[in-house]
């Protein structure tokens, strides 16, 4: 799949924003007044930048309100509705907390559940795609939730929780990569099932339908950068999980190290998200003898 910057930024930043909201909903970090307000603005800012970024890949973004109508069947619609509702509930909760010094615990729990729900719905947009076998697994929502909770814990300065979550994340991410490598073959879709010509023998594409490219090929077939996959995986997992865990274990995390941790995690997260799209193969590629 084409790794469009808009969807990478959308999933990465909104995940972090809702992740921070999850921790703040639990009352962490235990701050008050202006500091609480700054954390809340950071959480809502990240989520909002992410959500706005997702609108850049729309053909007709001015009609986006219509995307909130089909919650009965569409994960994208559900995600849109819940993200807006979460921002609303969290905004009220954060205002009461920061300005009136009245942190309503139940409202906080509600924000936490809704924030994680939004991340889950975002992940399901991808996990539901039977056409992209690498995404079509329960590891996809699990990963998105771990990225949100782990990254959110870093932002919320909850270092012990962050360390544990990032360690789990590293293991699950590595497992998802390995499982994903065999997912296409396991899906059973081949050029023979795509054409129905398997009974005639081994099938190959003799001639493309046109000499140039088309929307399907630029959107679904991305082969650039695959040769660096192993290196990128190592870089990503090191930066987003291994180094932060080591740093938390070995140092007394203050503001400087904390900032560095978040920066490392961010670069690793963006690399992982780029791989999430770039490595995903769509079955339509079978008709073009390319994946």
């Amino acid at each position: 799949m084409h790794p469009a910057p808009s969807v990478i930024i959308f999933t990465a930043l909104s995940g972090l924003g809702f992740g921070l909201m999850f921790w703040m909903g639990l009352g962490l970090p235990a701050v008050e007044g202006t500091t609480a307000a700054i954390f809340a603005v950071l959480a809502m800012g990240l989520a909002t930048i992410g959500l706005l970024s997702s609108m850049f890949h729309l053909g007709n973004p001015q009609r986006f309100l219509r995307a909130l109508t089909q919650w009965k069947t569409s994960w994208l619609s559900r995600e849109g509705i819940l993200s807006i509702a979460t921002l609303g509930v969290f905004f009220i909760y954060a205002c009461l907390w920061a300005f009136l010094d009245n942190r309503v615990v139940l409202l906080g729990y509600l924000s936490s559940v809704m924030a994680m729900g939004t991340v889950f719905f975002t992940a399901m947009i991808y996990a539901q795609m039977k056409t992209v076998p690498r995404w079509n697994a329960m590891s996809t929502p699990l990963l998105f939730l771990l990225y949100a909770a782990g990254g959110g814990a870093l932002l919320a300065a909850q270092m012990t929780e962050a360390m544990l979550l990032l360690a789990v994340l590293a293991v699950v991410q590595a497992g998802a990569w390995i499982q994903g490598d065999g997912a296409f073959a396991k899906s059973g879709s081949t050029i023979e099932t795509a054409t129905g010509l398997g009974a005639l023998g081994k099938v190959r594409l003799l001639e493309k339908p046109h000499s140039g490219t088309n929307y399907l090929m630029t959107e679904m077939i991305h082969v650039i950068g695959r040769k660096h996959v192993t290196k990128l995986r190592v870089i990503s997992i090191s930066l987003m999980a291994v180094l932060p865990v080591v740093l938390i274990l070995l140092t007394d995390v203050g503001h400087m190290v904390g900032g560095l941790l978040i920066l490392l995690h961010l670069v690793g997260l963006f690399t992982a998200r780029w791989l999430f799209f770039a490595e995903a193969e769509h079955v339509v590629g079978l008709y073009y003898d390319k994946r």
């Binding site: 053909g59 219509r66 099932t193 795509a194 493309k208 339908p209 088309n214 769509h282």
Partner: protein, 248 residues
């Protein structure tokens, strides 16, 4: 809206005969023409006369080669357009309700005034049947020429999809799969009409007829072999040549 109907009154669709298709791409061109001048936004081309032309098409013809070990290869022209699936995954993922499957005839359509152009339906389709128009920013797909088949302003014999009407080889057939006596039901039953990627669980309505077994698909010819084998028995000049070459 994006909930699929439990069943549809009619099940309109195409039968595409891979045995008959000659790969002339006439269906591609007639589809582009009809759908550029009627239903919804025109099918745009970008850089049409430049170095990297790209355009929206609702129907494309691929050409595949099938080959069995030791046999000569077979070429199969393969027109591909929307299969109007019963369990259309493109419809249920749509966040706006722009994509829908009609209860009366099973045609899958896009309401272009509601489409935000997110492209998720194109991701959900295993067949590459949907293309986002670069100029209009809305999703385009085969309408089964919904503006022809019910159009009382055109002669009755023209009330079939443009691709079917234009096919010079008669490789495309249009009809109602819910009617067991329709041309498409009979053809599909007689010739083993098949689903593309059945493992995706989309239950396509359109059926593809596999190429008939070819009489000339035989184990690959060994050009010199039979000649030499024959001459080993009969002797003569070639037999002598064979024996002499053998000794070298």
């Amino acid at each position: 809206m994006t909930q699929l109907p439990a069943s549809t009154k009619k099940k309109l669709g195409l039968v595409i005969d891979l045995d008959t298709c000659v790969g002339c791409h006439a269906c591609v061109i007639s589809c582009k023409e009809w759908n550029t001048t009627s239903y919804g936004a025109p099918l745009s081309d970008v850089d049409a006369y430049g170095a990297d032309p790209v355009g929206t098409f609702l129907n494309r013809v691929h050409t595949f080669e099938a080959k069995q070990e030791g046999c000569s290869a077979q070429t199969v022209h393969f027109p591909k357009s929307c299969l109007h699936c019963e369990d259309a995954p493109c419809v249920t993922v749509c966040p706006t309700g722009a994509s829908y499957k009609r209860e009366e005839d099973g045609i899958v359509l896009v309401n272009e005034d509601h489409c935000i152009g997110c492209g998720l339906c194109a991701w959900a389709c295993p067949y590459g049947a949907r293309e986002l128009d670069k100029v209009e920013g809305v999703m385009k797909k085969c309408t089964l020429c919904v503006d022809r088949i019910y159009n009382e302003n055109i002669p009755e014999e023209d009330r079939i999809p443009s691709c079917v009407k234009t096919c010079p080889a008669g490789a495309r057939h249009f009809g109602d799969f819910n009617d067991p006596n329709s041309n498409v039901s009979i053809l599909s039953a007689a010739r083993g009409g098949m689903d593309l990627m059945p493992e995706q669980g989309t239950k396509p309505v359109n059926k593809y007829l596999p190429p008939r077994p070819k009489a000339d698909i035989v184990p690959e010819l060994d050009v010199l072999g039979p000649l030499l084998a024959q001459n080993e028995k009969t002797g003569g000049f070639l037999g002598w040549l064979d024996r002499t070459l053998e000794k070298l």
